[in-house]
Every structure is written in structure tokens, then in C-alpha cells.
């Protein structure tokens, strides 16, 4: 956590189990997300993949009654260690949500700079940061002449890329994406997928998706989550995307990726 140079990091989840109240929803998940790789988390609804994603940057603990076992290591440091502040964790591990959620009372420019302001940090060159962030999210050309417009004046796809840019302005080492395209049209989806590919050059990406084609298009490795009725969810199969989709080991994975259920 002390290393502040912007570079990708390896994130690993060790033996993660999750409870809501007394109900266990995830059991013993072990996954490694190597630097500069895109990992897709797939699985039917309710299998705990979004919940798992939230444990990776401590958004999980905001839910009343949430419980956790195991540890999440960012470059070997346990992000749940008592001396680690959740604010530092969330600065280093950014998150993009399912629905675009730009701050409605702020302009495009203010949205980009909001992360710095909210986490109490300063930058020497705000204009430059705005431009780089928007460029990295491939939306600069569309908004460069209207940086002071309200964020809500953008289209849905543009709003989502703005939210990505907002996370990028924090210079995170890892970016978590929770079904970032599920509310968008195919054109916007394709552009965001291109953005993800470019981002993987400078950071580690974990993306939850329901879309098999999307998982195959953007990810290097894939984890398949599954929860049987009334039992906690877990990882059934984890490997390179090519292997999981073409030569799955577990028959349930085979059924799912070929659309037989879910």
C-alpha cells in the first residue's frame, strides 16, 4: 500500500467466505488476479459474484450485518488488516457500478476531480488530470468542449465512461467493474470493452458480467461462480478464458457457458 507509483498490482483473494447476518452467501473463494490481466467473473444471478467483487475493495463492509472470513491481498498486503484504512483501499482499488452514477449536481470536470476532493487529496495540475483521465476512458473527444456542462447532459454510455474516467483520475492499481455494460446499448458496450482492453496495459481489471461473449472478448482469465439452492456460492472453475470456455473441466461450467442454464 505504501508504493504510490502508478502501476498494476496483483490482487489475490484467499479463502474468502461471506455472510449476511447468519446466512452464508460465499464459501472459500480462492482467486488470483495477476497484474495487467483482465479477469471475468461469470455465473448465474444470485451466485455471489457481485458480493465477491465488493469484498475486494471493502465496499462489502458498508452493508449492515455483513460478515467476512479470509483475506484479500494487494501486492501481499492484507487490505482488511486493522491498520489499513478503507479509504486507502478504495483509492487504490477503484470501482465502476452497474448503472452509470455520475454526481448529478457536478459538471463533467467536477465529476472527474470529485474523487480527489472527496478523499481529501490535491493535485498540482487539475486540467491535465481531467484530460488524461477522460482520454484513458476514450471520451475526451466527445466532451472536451463542454467540460463545464452538467454530467447528466451526457448519454447513458457517455455517463458510464465518465464514471470510468472518474475512477481513473484516482490512478487506481486495480479497477473493479460490476456489470458495467448491462444498462447500455451495444454501441456503448463495444466502446467500453475497447477501453477495458487499453486499461489492462496499466492496471489490473476484474469485471463481473452476465454476457458470455463479453467475457470471451475482454478477459484473459475467467472464474465461474455457482450457488446451489440454499448453499453458499463458490468458484466452480477458474482458468484462462480460452480453457474455461473451450475445454471446461467441470460439466456444470460446460452447461453454463453453452447456455444450458442460467
Amino acid at each position: 500500500m505504501t508504493n504510490s507509483t502508478p502501476s498494476a498490482s496483483t490482487l489475490s483473494a484467499e479463502d474468502i467466505s461471506v455472510w449476511f447476518g447468519e446466512r452464508q452467501v460465499l464459501s472459500n473463494v480462492n482467486l488470483v488476479f495477476p497484474a495487467n490481466q483482465v479477469t471475468a467473473l461469470i455465473g448465474p444471478s444470485g451466485c455471489g459474484k457481485s458480493t465477491f467483487l465488493r469484498t475486494l475493495n471493502r465496499m462489502h463492509e458498508l452493508i449492515p450485518g455483513a460478515g467476512l472470513a479470509g483475506s484479500v491481498l494487494l501486492d501481499g498486503v492484507d487490505i482488511y488488516a486493522p491498520e489499513v484504512s478503507p479509504v486507502d483501499v478504495r483509492i487504490n482499488i477503484g470501482m465502476v457500478f452497474q448503472k452509470p452514477n455520475p454526481f448529478p449536481t457536478m459538471s463533467i470536470r467536477e465529476n472527474i476531480l470529485s474523487g480527489l476532493k472527496l478523499s481529501g487529496r490535491k493535485t498540482a495540475n487539475a486540467d491535465e488530470l481531467v484530460e488524461t483521465s477522460l482520454r484513458r476512458a476514450s471520451i475526451w473527444n466527445e466532451v472536451k468542449d463542454r467540460l463545464n456542462d452538467q454530467a447528466l447532459s451526457l448519454s447513458g454510455g457517455q455517463q458510464q465512461r465518465l464514471c470510468i474516467a472518474r475512477s481513473l483520475a484516482m490512478d487506481p492499481k486495480v479497477l473493479l467493474m460490476d456489470e458495467p455494460c448491462s444498462a447500455l446499448d451495444p454501441g456503448s458496450t463495444r466502446r467500453i470493452e475497447e477501453t477495458i482492453e487499453e486499461l489492462s496495459e496499466s492496471m489490473t481489471v476484474v469485471i463481473v458480467t452476465h454476457n458470455m461473449q463479453q467475457a470471451q472478448r475482454v478477459s484473459h482469465q475467467t472464474a465461474f461462480f455457482l450457488a446451489d439452492e440454499n448453499t453458499p456460492g463458490g468458484v466452480v472453475e477458474f482458468g484462462s478464458t480460452e480453457q474455461v470456455f473451450n475445454t471446461p473441466v467441470d460439466p456444470r461450467t460446460n452447461d453454463y457457458v453453452n447456455g444450458h442454464f442460467g
Binding site: 448529478p104 449536481t105 472527496l118
Partner: protein, 357 residues
């Protein structure tokens, strides 16, 4: 346009035809005519004719038409519609009567001098050309502003607790706050009086403002809570995911998004207390002259002004009471109108957010 008019409507699925429209017209005219005739011939009182002859007849007629058109089902539906309209009309009549009486009687007392002068040297029989409610308007504003200074921040803080924190006893706080919003105003006044007795403070504008405080607080808290609840929880999560502490997420993201709702809470809180009378009678001394010092002597307010003049019974004092009532109602309407505009802006904004999804 003309084409649609000239072409007869043929809708086989609808049963409306000339044959079924005729009883409808008859049913809506006959009872009134009959009631008027009987009323005139028997020299009945207007209200008796209305209630005893017209209303039952109209209900019967409506039921008959319903029965003719839809059978037994139509009978019940027609009577239901009739009863609904009858009782709602009663509400409308009562409300209109209040508003029109205040407007008409109040307007005849109105003049620039009535709005600006105070009440020194005015007795209950002094003609309306002298004196006015200027001092009471200022006094009312002064006192409600004092109450607002205390109640609004506290009410908003309560609303923040009810929406932002994870505390377990939120439910009971909400219930107690709601129960407090039904606090009888006279009890609020007695409460402050009891405190004054123990601490030994004299009656002044400040004690009046204190007596309004328990009445304003729950209103502000409730409306502010509703408006904070309307802010999508996604925004809060987004702010926290960017590394914001809760208080920054609130002040920089949630509060700006709920701004108009918070202002609505302020306005409705003001509307709630601006006409309160009993607590002020208990805790403030009357005053005929203008006093803007809330720490000493009596202060006139619009509600206590109305109360005072109404109690004396002369027609000129009643006219003054109506005039003050009109001013008070206009203030309430102003607050309400402003609150409406605020909520409309808010709903426009949420609409555009929805569209963006």
C-alpha cells in the same frame, strides 16, 4: 377535424348510444328540477330541500342509470361514484367557504396603512382608518425566524441520522418523531411555561419562539428525511468507492442533490408554525407597539392579534381580525407556493436522471 366530427362514432364495444344517453341526461336534471319544484311549492327551506329531497333523488337516479346500463354491477358502481362525489363536494364547499370568507372580509380591511402601521392608540371600536398589523407581521417573522434557526439544523441532522447511519434504533427514532408531530400546540406552550417557572425567565419573544420549536422540529425532520431518501443510494456508494468518508459523501454529493427538498422542509416547517396561536398566547405578552427585541417585553404576532380582536366582539375588531387572517393566509400560501416550485424542480431533476439510465 371536421371529418372526425361528421363521421358518427361506431364503437361496437361501447354501449353508449342515444338510447342510453337519454336516461343519463334525465337523471342528472330531473332530481334538481323536482327538488326545486317541491321546495318552492311546499315553501321548504333551501338546505332541507337540498339534503332531504335532492340528494336521495340524485342517488336514486344515478343508481337507476347504472342499473339500466350495466345491470346490478352498475347500480352499486353508480351509487359509489355518487357517494364519493357527494362527500368530496362537502370538503370542497367547506374549504372554499373558509378561503372565500377570509379573502372577501379580509380584503375590505386591507389598505397600505393596515399593513404598515402598528396598533398603538387603537381600541376595539377605533375605525379601520387607523392602526394596522405592521407590528404583528414583523413580530411573527421575528419569532418564526428565531424558531427556524434552532429547529431547521436539528431537524436536518435528525433526517441525516435516519437516512445515512446504520444504527439499529432508527425505527424507534422515526416513530417517536412522528408521534411528536402530533404534539398538541397548547402542550408545547405549557411545557415552555413550566421550564420558565423553574428557571425563572420572563415572558418574551424568545420564550414564544421556544414554544414553537417542538412543533416545527418534527415537520422539518420528516420532510427532510423524505427528500434525502429520494437521492439514489448509488451516489453515496460511488462517493464512498472513491475513498470519501461518510461526511464528505453527504456534504458534497448527497446534500447538493437533495437541496431543493431540504428547502421544502424549511418552508413546510415555517408553514406549520406561522399560524400557531395557543403556544404564543401562553408564552408571549401582547404588545400594541412595534417591538423587535426578542429578549424583553411583549411582541405582537398575527395569530395572537387575530385572537385578541376576535375576543372583543365589535364589528370593527372583527374586521381587523379578518384582515390579519388574510395576511396570515397569504404568508402560508406564499410558503406553500415556494415549496411546490421547489418540489417541481426536484421532480424534473429526478426525471432527467431516470431518462439518462
Amino acid at each position: 377535424m371536421s371529418q372526425t366530427l361528421s363521421r358518427p362514432k361506431v364503437q361496437p364495444w361501447s354501449q353508449s348510444s342515444v338510447a342510453s344517453v337519454r336516461p343519463l341526461i334525465l337523471a342528472s336534471v330531473l332530481p334538481a328540477v323536482f327538488a326545486a319544484l317541491v321546495g318552492l311549492l311546499a315553501n321548504l327551506d333551501f338546505s332541507v330541500a337540498l339534503l332531504v329531497i335532492f340528494v336521495p333523488l340524485q342517488a336514486l337516479a344515478a343508481g337507476f342509470v347504472g342499473f339500466k346500463t350495466y345491470g346490478k354491477r352498475g347500480l352499486k358502481d353508480a351509487v359509489l361514484i355518487f357517494v364519493t362525489i357527494f362527500f368530496s363536494m362537502m370538503v370542497m364547499v367547506l374549504l372554499t367557504s373558509v378561503l372565500v370568507s377570509v379573502a372577501v372580509a379580509g380584503f375590505s380591511a386591507m389598505s397600505p396603512q393596515f399593513l404598515s402601521q402598528n396598533n398603538v392608540y387603537v381600541s376595539p371600536t377605533t375605525s379601520l382608518e387607523y392602526g394596522g398589523v405592521g407590528h404583528a407581521i414583523l413580530g411573527t417573522l421575528l419569532i418564526v425566524i428565531l424558531t427556524t434557526i434552532a429547529a431547521v439544523p436539528l431537524g436536518i441532522a435528525m433526517a441525516v441520522f435516519l437516512t445515512q447511519s446504520n444504527a439499529k434504533h432508527k425505527g424507534i427514532v422515526r416513530t417517536v418523531t412522528q408521534a411528536l408531530s402530533g404534539l398538541p400546540s397548547v402542550v408545547s406552550g405549557l411545557f415552555i411555561l413550566a421550564i420558565m417557572g423553574f428557571v425563572g425567565i420572563e415572558r418574551s419573544g424568545l420564550t414564544g419562539a421556544l414554544a414553537l420549536f417542538p412543533l416545527m422540529l418534527p415537520t422539518v425532520a420528516r420532510v427532510a428525511e423524505e427528500s434525502l431518501r429520494l437521492v439514489p443510494s448509488d451516489l453515496r456508494l460511488a462517493a464512498l468507492a472513491l475513498g470519501a468518508p461518510n461526511y464528505k459523501a453527504f456534504f458534497q454529493v448527497i446534500l447538493p442533490a437533495a437541496k431543493s427538498g431540504i428547502i421544502t422542509a424549511l418552508l413546510l416547517g415555517l408553514a406549520r408554525i406561522i399560524g400557531e396561536t395557543a403556544p404564543l398566547i401562553l408564552t408571549i405578552n401582547a404588545n400594541n407597539s412595534t417591538n423587535l427585541n426578542p429578549f424583553a417585553e411583549g411582541i405582537a404576532t398575527l395569530p395572537t392579534y387575530i385572537y385578541g380582536f376576535l375576543s372583543s366582539g365589535y364589528s370593527t375588531s372583527q374586521a381587523r381580525a379578518w384582515g390579519a387572517a388574510l395576511v396570515l393566509l397569504l404568508l402560508v400560501a406564499l410558503l406553500f407556493g415556494a415549496a411546490r416550485i421547489m418540489t417541481r424542480q426536484k421532480s424534473l431533476k429526478t426525471k432527467s436522471t431516470k431518462k439518462a439510465k
